[in-house]
Amino acid sequence: MRPADWYVLVGAIVFVVVYGMWRSRGSGTVNKYLLAGKTMPWYAMALSIMATQASAITFISTPGQSYVDGMRFVQFYFGLPLAMVILSVTAVPIFHRARVYTAYEYLEQRFNAKTRALVSGIFLLQRGLAIGIALCAPAIVLSVILGWPEHITILLIGLVAVLYTSLRGVKGVMWTQFPYMFIMTLGLLVALGTALWRLPQGMGLADAVTVAGAAGRVNPVVFHFNWNDRYNFWSGLVGGMFLALAYFGCDQSQVQRYLTGKSIAQSRLSLLFNGVAKIPMQFFILLIGVVVFAFYTFEKPPILFKSNDLQRIQTSAAEYAPIAQRYDAAFERRKKAARQVVAARRQGDGQARAQSAAAYRQAQRDLEDARGAAIRLAAKPGPGNDSNNAFLTFVNHYFPAGLASKITGVGFNDTNYVFLSFVIRYLPAGVVGLMLAMIFGAAMVSISSEMNSLATVTIIDLYQRHVRRQASDGHYLAAARVATLFWGAYAVVAAGLAKNLGSLIETVNLVGSLFYGGLLGVFVLAFFFKRVAGNAAFAGVIAGEAAIFAAAIFTNISFLWYNVIGCVVVVSTALVLSPIESNQGARRQS
C-alpha cells in the first residue's frame, strides 16, 4: 500500500460514514430507527437495495468467477426483473397497507403466531450464516494487502459498521449506502479502464473480448438445459426469479429497505430501478473479469492465486517443478496463439481465425491441466494447509457428505483471489486505494443492512412479541441498539469461521437457497391462497425445508432449483392439509 492508496481509502470511507451520519440525524424513535419514519425517497431506497445485495463478495468473487468460468454467471440475474414486477404488484402494497415493521409480522396477521415465529427463526438462521460470509470476504482483502491477521481485519470492518448502524439505525444505513454507490460506480469504471490500459500496446476491448471468447469465457447466454448446471438461461430465468422473489419479498434485509418508503409508488419505483440496473451492473463486473483474463493471456498469471498456498507447494512439494514447467510452456504457446487469433480477427480472415483459435484452446486446456495439478497439490492435507480449519472439519464431520461439499466448496478454490491478485500487482497508486474503498465500503454497507434487519426481527418478532409485550418506545429503541451490537459481534465470530469456504459468492447464494424456498412458499400462501390457515401453512414450511435439504443432500440438482422445489412443496402441502384443518375447525365450532 502506497501513501496515495491510504489517502484514497481512508478519505472515501470517512466521507461515506460522515455523510451517512449527517443525513440520518434524528433517529430517536423506534419508528425512525427501524423504518426511517417512512420518509425515504425512491432513489435512496433503490441504491440501498442494490448496495445491500452488492456485498464485497460481488467485487472480489465475480471477476474471478468470470475468469475461471466465463460470463454465464450473469444469467443468475435474468429472473430478477420479473421478480421486481411481481413484488411491485403484490408484496409492496400488501406490506405497506399492513403497516408492519417486518415481513414476518404480516404472517401473524394472516396466519398465526407460531408461523411467524418459525419463519422469523429461519430468517435469523439463514441471514446469520450469510452475514459471516459477507464480512469475511473484505477481511481477506485487507489481510492479503496489509499482511495483517484476518481476525484483526474482520474486527476492524465489523466495528465501523456496528458504530453507525447502532447509532443511527436504518436511516444511517441507507444514507451511508447512497454515496457509496457513486464510489462503487466510479471504482468499476476505473477498474475496467486500468485493466484495458494494462493490456499489451495496441490492444483494446474488442481484442480482449476476442481472446477471452476464443477460450469460451464470453458465454452470457446458454440455452442448453441441464438440471445440474448452475448457470444457464432456464435456471437463471426460473430459479433466479424464485430466488429473487424470496430475497426481495421475504428477506427482511431487503423488505426493510422498501418499507421505509414514503408511499407505495416510491417503494415500487425503487424495486423497478433495481430490475433495470442490476443485470447491466453484473455484466460490467463480469466484463472486468474477462479483460483480466485477456491481460493474463499476455502476462503470465501465477499458477495459484492464493500466494501462501503457492509458496507452500513451491518450497515443500517435489512434484511442483515439473508442473511449473508444463505450465510455463503452455502459457507461452497460448500467448503466441492468442496474438494469432487477434491478428486474424483484425484481418477478417475466418479460416486463420478458426485455426489459431483451435491452437489457442489446446494451449488453454494444457494450461488448465497444469493448474489443476497444482491445485490438487495444494489441496493435499498436510502442515500449512489452511483449508483444514475447525469449521470445515466440523461441517465435513457432522453434515451429510452431499451437503457438506456444497457448503464448503469441493477442495481448493482460489476464485476469490484472482481479481485481488491483479489489483495488488498491476494497478497504479491511488487506484488500488479506490478498489479497496469500493470493497470495504461494499462490506460495510451490506453487513450494516443485515445487522439492522437481524436486530429488527429480533426485537419486533421475538422480543416484543414473546418477551416484553408492553414497554415504552425508549425501551424498544435501546433494545434495538443492543440487538445491533449483538449481531455485529456474532458477524465477527462467524466471519472468522467462514474464511476457508470456496467461491464466496456461490456459497452465499447456496446458503440462501437452502432457506428461501420455504420462506417464499409461505408468503405465496399468504398472498394468493386466502383459504389456507395457520397450521397448514406451518406444516407446509416444515415440509418445504425438508424437501430442500433432501434435494441438497441426495441429488446434484443445481441450488437455484431449491427455491422452486421449496416453494412448490410448501404450497402443495398446505393445500392438501388445508381442508383437514378447515374440517377440524368446523367440528370445534359445532
Binding site: 403497516r99 473480448v209 469460451g216 409508488a265 416484543q464 409485550r469
Partner: protein, 50 residues
C-alpha cells in the same frame, strides 16, 4: 397496546407512477428491457464466439 403498534390495514391510496403513464405500462417497459438485454448479450456472444 405497546408503543410499537400502529393502526393496521389503513387504506393507502394508489398513486400513478411519476413517469410511464400507468403502472402496467411501466412493468411492461421493465420486461421489454430484460428481453432486449438478453438479445444483446446473445449477439455479443455470437460476435466473439470461437
Amino acid at each position: 397496546m405497546s408503543a410499537l403498534r400502529n393502526d393496521r390495514h389503513q387504506d393507502i391510496p394508489e398513486e400513478p407512477p411519476p413517469f410511464g403513464g400507468t403502472w402496467p405500462r411501466l412493468y411492461a417497459a421493465v420486461l421489454a428491457f430484460l428481453a432486449a438485454l438478453i438479445l444483446l448479450f446473445r449477439a455479443f456472444q455470437w460476435a466473439f464466439a470461437p
